[in-house]
């Protein structure tokens, strides 16, 4: 018995979600040769977008970043309407919503792993809930307005920590030419990325909750997405255990802040929460627990 417990401590069992996150991160970045050579992949698969935030300038990336592609498409939208990228984002959002954030985003995985380091944690509150609106401002200002007016991909250029960690740092380490070109902007981006990673140590998924414009886009689709967490209205008593247990700033299961990770399934006393197809028109009842969950 004791050896079993010791084994469990040394090798904690990974959840299906963790496996999915790891597999997604590896699949997105399976061009291992690129890391050694300091060059990026140029194959045809780069014309496709992955659903999660993953920089296409990462030497390992075999597909495009949806957010980078959107900004790039908006830069040239004076000449061409970005049908392809908009269609891709609409399809991803409609099929999965923020299930993508919970299961298919490598940067989300990184933040969750950092959060596992034992330190004092900041719990969700009115302040974090207010801060969670910031990502919509970033979406409008940096992803839409700056590319349309200043003709530069604002979010990629000034904020994106995935670009710095997956693209900038590995390329700078492996490629002397790129290393020689680093300047003030790179220093700024390293500072932003470091600040976000540090925040993730104390605050669960700080970037996803407060800053990520891709999460903001997918949040609009959460209530209508085909797959994800669903609540059985005939079983739900509205006790609010799910919302209290959730580390995101949700007001109810499957609202815009819910990343559909399914962690709430285990705490529901009525087993009313499950994963699956949430067919169009399927009625759902979610507990109204705004007041109950204030901490």
């Amino acid at each position: 018995m004791k050896t079993d417990e010791k084994k469990k401590k040394r090798f904690p069992k990974l959840s299906a979600r963790r496996y999915t996150q790891l597999i997604a991160a590896v699949l997105y970045n399976c061009n291992v040769k690129g890391f050694a050579e300091g060059k990026i992949f140029k194959g045809a698969s780069k014309g496709l977008c992955v659903p999660g935030l993953n920089c296409y300038s990462c030497p390992g990336a075999v597909a495009a970043c949806p957010l980078g592609s959107l900004q790039s498409a908006l830069l040239s939208s004076r000449y061409k309407v970005p049908y392809y990228v908009l269609g891709t984002l609409l399809l991803f959002g409609l099929v999965c919503g923020r299930f993508i954030c919970g299961f298919l985003c490598p940067f989300g995985l990184l933040q969750e792993l950092i959060y596992k380091i034992p330190t004092k944690k900041i719990k969700k509150s009115r302040v974090t809930r207010a801060l969670s609106k910031l990502k919509y401002i970033i979406l409008i200002a940096f992803v839409i307005v700056i590319p349309l007016t200043k003709l530069s991909p604002g979010f990629c250029k000034y904020i994106c920590p995935a670009g710095t960690l997956e693209g900038g740092v590995p390329l700078a380490l492996a490629n002397a030419d790129i290393r020689g070109m680093l300047g003030a902007l790179f220093s700024w981006k390293v500072f932003v990325a470091a600040a976000i990673l540090l925040a993730s140590l104390f605050c669960y998924r700080a970037f996803c909750r407060f800053l990520c414009p891709l999460g903001a886009i997918y949040s609009f689709f959460n209530p209508v997405s085909f797959f994800g967490v669903k609540v059985d209205k005939s079983k739900c008593t509205g006790c609010g255990a799910c919302v209290r247990a959730c580390k995101m700033d949700v007001k109810k299961v499957c609202d815009g802040e819910c990343i559909q990770c399914g962690e709430c399934r285990g705490v529901c006393p009525e087993n009313a929460i499950s994963f699956g197809y949430k067919g169009p028109g399927e009625a759902k009842r979610t507990p109204k627990t705004d007041r109950q969950t204030e901490e």
Partner: protein, 48 residues
Amino acid sequence: MTGKPKQILVCSLLIAAVCLLAAGLADGGFTDVLRKAATICFECIGLG
């Protein structure tokens, strides 16, 4: 939103997504994304 209005909204969005994708593919959107993603993005990596 539940019931029929939701069903109509979801179906409309799905049709819109497929139409946008088809229009984008016909318009060379795939090639545009490929062209951008196959070159190092200086803004993304912090070179400006």
